[in-house]
Symmetry: C2
Subunit: 353 residues, 2 copies
């Protein structure tokens, strides 16, 4: 197993260090892997002038899986578009063809109070958002800002082909099959032809999955229903742009985005794994960041890319144990629990393994 580790910016290096410790602790278990580290995002811009250096991409291509911390920070915000840290992220997704983005929104019982929703509405919440990640308006051409009739005009293109829709649809139906067999496809078919095709293809595909109940929801209604009654959802599948918005909304319903991992997969289950949260420049370097989302990303990696279900579950159980033991980083702290730093939290998970 070849793993490419990209710590990135902000709190990225700190949280990644703990995730790597957890991975190392599994070596004793007979898991054999090699780790290679490279730069992405702002630190790569500083070192090499570009957010996704060729050498980084080469390492990532050669690896079976990529573990990413986070990218970005205010010091790179004023750079021209092509040099901004998030271009590194978009670039690696596209280059590795990581079209299948899995974003779980899970509420751990111990953290039920962290949600801004009433406890009875979110207790036991467990949604899987499947977001298409290499198409849509993120990558569509033509795009740009130009002068027309004497004024600036900005434009982008939302676009999906039926094969792109079908392959993400399959990922979502397959996941729904392993869960509660309910799949909700989100679109805006009443306005956008692009998403009319999305709905049509999902309906066609559903013929191959008679055991999964497919429903459809308009994106504005989905944004409402997530607030009103999030537990109505099992698996949600949607395009890149709507998925960006809805997966963040769903993550925030748990109140503990510092706990949520994510996976981005290609057609052969090669994947990039990263926490759902960002680089949190305000607390970077202070040893305060929550490493659990990154540690749980390691579990997702073992499950989806390496088919090591037992090892994945072992990590997830260790995380549950430290929560049950009352350990909390600042982002999930509440009175009556014990506030710890990044390294202490890593220590505790390693011990609980």
């Amino acid at each position: 197993m070849k793993i490419c580790v990209l710590p990135g910016d902000g709190i990225g290096p700190e949280i990644m260090a703990q995730a790597v410790r957890v991975l190392e602790a599994l070596r004793t278990d007979g898991l054999a892997f090699e780790i290679e580290e490279a730069k992405i995002g702002g630190c790569a811009v500083d070192a090499d002038g570009v957010p996704l250096p060729e050498s980084t991409l080469a390492l990532a291509r050669a690896a079976d899986a990529v573990l990413l911390g986070a990218v970005g920070g205010p010091q790179w915000d004023a750079l021209p578009r092509e040099q901004r840290p998030e271009r590194g992220l978009l670039g690696i997704r596209k280059a590795l063809n990581l079209f299948g983005n899995l974003r779980p929104a899970i509420l751990y019982p111990e953290l039920a109070n962290a949600s801004s929703l009433k406890p009875e509405l979110v207790a036991g919440l467990d949604i899987m958002i499947v977001r298409e990640l290499t198409g849509d308006i993120y990558f569509g051409q033509p795009r740009g800002i130009e002068s027309r009739d004497g004024e600036r005009v900005g434009f982008n293109t939302m676009i999906y082909s039926e094969s792109e829709i079908r392959r993400i649809g399959k990922v979502a139906f397959d996941i729904a099959r392993k869960r509660n067999r309910k799949l909700c496809s989100v679109d805006k078919m009443n306005v956008l032809e692009c998403t009319q095709l999305w709905r049509d293809v999902m309906i066609e595909l559903s013929a191959d999955y008679p055991d999964v109940e497919l429903s459809h929801m308009l994106v504005d209604n989905a944004a409402m229903q997530l607030v009103k009654n999030p537990k109505q959802f099992d698996v949600v599948v949607t395009g890149n742009m709507f998925g960006d918005i809805l997966s963040d909304e769903a993550a925030m319903l748990t109140g503990s985005i510092g706990m949520l991992p994510s996976a981005s997969l290609d057609e052969n289950n090669k994947g990039m794994y990263e926490p759902s949260h960002g680089s949190a420049p305000d607390i970077a370097g202070k040893g305060l960041a929550n490493p659990l989302a990154t540690i749980l990303s390691v579990a997702m990696m073992l499950r989806y890319t390496f088919n090591q279900e037992a090892a994945a579950v072992r990590i997830e159980k260790a995380v549950k144990k430290v929560l049950a033991d009352g350990l909390r980083t600042g982002d999930i702290y509440e009175p009556g629990t014990r506030k710890v730093g990044t390294i202490d939290m890593g220590d505790a998970v390693v011990a609980a393994l």
Copy 2:
């Protein structure tokens, strides 16, 4: 004052009847107006074969303001795109140049329990979402579904010119000036050039409004922040697509979308006024629907189009009084209050005037 009334489909006619009664009750107050009624949406398709008949548009053009109930229902869902009820809505917005959509999200103290958020996070919530309504990917060309390289491809165009951005920006800044002087502009500038221009123009425009504090937020973060801490927002301005999603999310935070009016204005404050909720076909014709959002839309009409602030406030106070008196339609009912139907609720508001 010429008012064009478009009851529409589903619960539209029932709720509109109560709104018109409230309006009629103000005649005694010296308000002089003419009302003309026409068809839009599914009922227009049934009668004339199109969701926005020429005669309806002519009446709407001739009027100073339009009052709309709601459009749509399952019986028209299978129609070809151009005949679906919502095309009537999109058509009239565009034809009347109603680019400025104001969607308040207000939580009435009496309805605090209706929210799915914890009471302390939403008590006193009062956000105004300003959504651009005649541009963006809703109307951008090219668009369609066609065959390319042997497969179907769906595409739409997100597009804004600087003059379109500037005119909605002005509406938002002007409203912020009359409120708490905080304006948050929402975009996805880290990915979409179209919204990079949006941000640039908002920054340019802010030079004319030194007394308003302008901030910027990415749309995915905005979807999160609305859940996490909605009271951080005063006025939010965004494009048509993001505004569709965020205004519905914000409305649902109140838990009582049956209470929320909206206004859609052109450059001369001619406007169309409608409830934020839909046509609720499941309860149509049963006398159960909540008419308050439509009644409050009348108040918005008097304020924004006719400059009759006193009359607007009178309606708003009457609505507050019936809530304080414990009257509730089914959508906002809770034990300890009195459940009433659509007509009873209209009666109560008229009496409270």
